[in-house]
Amino acid sequence: MQLKKRSRETAEVPQAGMADIAFLLLIFFLVVTTIDVDTGIGMQLPPPPDPDQEPPPIRERNLMNILVNAQGFILINEERASLPEVKQLVMDFVDNQNRAQDPNLAESPRQAIVSIKTDRQTPYEIYIDMLDEVIGAYRQLRDEASMREFGIQYRQYSARVSREDNVIREMYPQNISLAEPDPGS
């Protein structure tokens, strides 16, 4: 009778150490985990240039040339501009149809192209700051249009509809062209 009782006891797996093992693994994963979310400015590069094909003609008024030179100065259509001005200038240019209707600025937001050019010595930091302003201008235009049409922020709107049905996106496409820097200088 005693022997039978003992054999039943040894059949059990001890459970007390399990929590310790789990703790050990937990601490390991806690240490190695890096919860860093990848954030950044998303861009689409143009496809490689085709030597046989001429670039499509673009009317000059539809093109905004932004040059960031080696000293970090921003030139918009050959005129000096400071960084905080960039956003307003881009918005005026892209949304000209609904604003000033200046004959020298873009015909419609869909035809507007913002061309960004840099020198080889341009500091990367200033380039990103400038790009941030341009993206910010487009974001504000989209937000305004979204509030006008649907009464919600663009971010909420774009989460609800698919990419194809996104009319705001179609209204203000981000036509940003990254030009190659001058080989010289």
Partner: protein, 152 residues
């Protein structure tokens, strides 16, 4: 009075610990899922710039990183600006084309995250961009942190 005292004595003072392993396991599984083991050893210094109008990359599996920054020489010294892909520094910039093309074949929806040191110059960045264009990996992302812009 005695009745009240007896009742209090009858309640257990201990916190039940039977469910603790379950809770620990739950946490463990959470961390196992979110963990991305660091697979690259950085050989270049990358201090991110800051920007406000940024977006999150939701699908981390699609991302491939290119690091651009001054080479770490050890002892707090930094060398010339170099390009690092995966674990190796790239000597020939035209080799990027081939490498990225191979990656694109494996993952057609590839996003290339450019992690560039803020003190870099645009020359090398645009060289890499030209290579990416040739490779056909057109979706890129300039990695930045959220926050106010650094004073100029």
């Amino acid at each position: 009075m005695s009745k009240f005292q007896k009742k209090q004595a009858g309640t257990k003072q201990q916190v039940p610990t039977a469910a603790m392993p379950d809770i620990i396991f739950m946490l463990l599984i959470f961390f196992m899922v979110v963990t991305v083991l660091r697979e690259v050893e950085l050989q270049v210094r990358v201090d991110f710039t800051r920007a406000d109008n940024i977006e999150k990359i939701e699908q981390k599996r699609l991302v491939s990183y290119i690091y651009i920054g001054p080479e770490i020489l050890g002892g707090g010294q930094f060398g010339d600006t170099r390009v690092q892909i995966d674990d190796a520094l790239v000597d020939d910039i035209f080799a990027i084309r081939r490498m990225m093309y191979d990656k694109l074949m494996e993952e057609p929806r590839l996003i290339v995250s450019l992690r560039v040191d803020q003190k870099s110059e645009m020359g090398i960045v645009s060289d890499v961009q030209q290579e990416l264009r040739e490779a056909g990996t057109l979706r890129i992302n300039y990695s930045t942190l959220r926050g106010a812009q650094a004073p100029m």
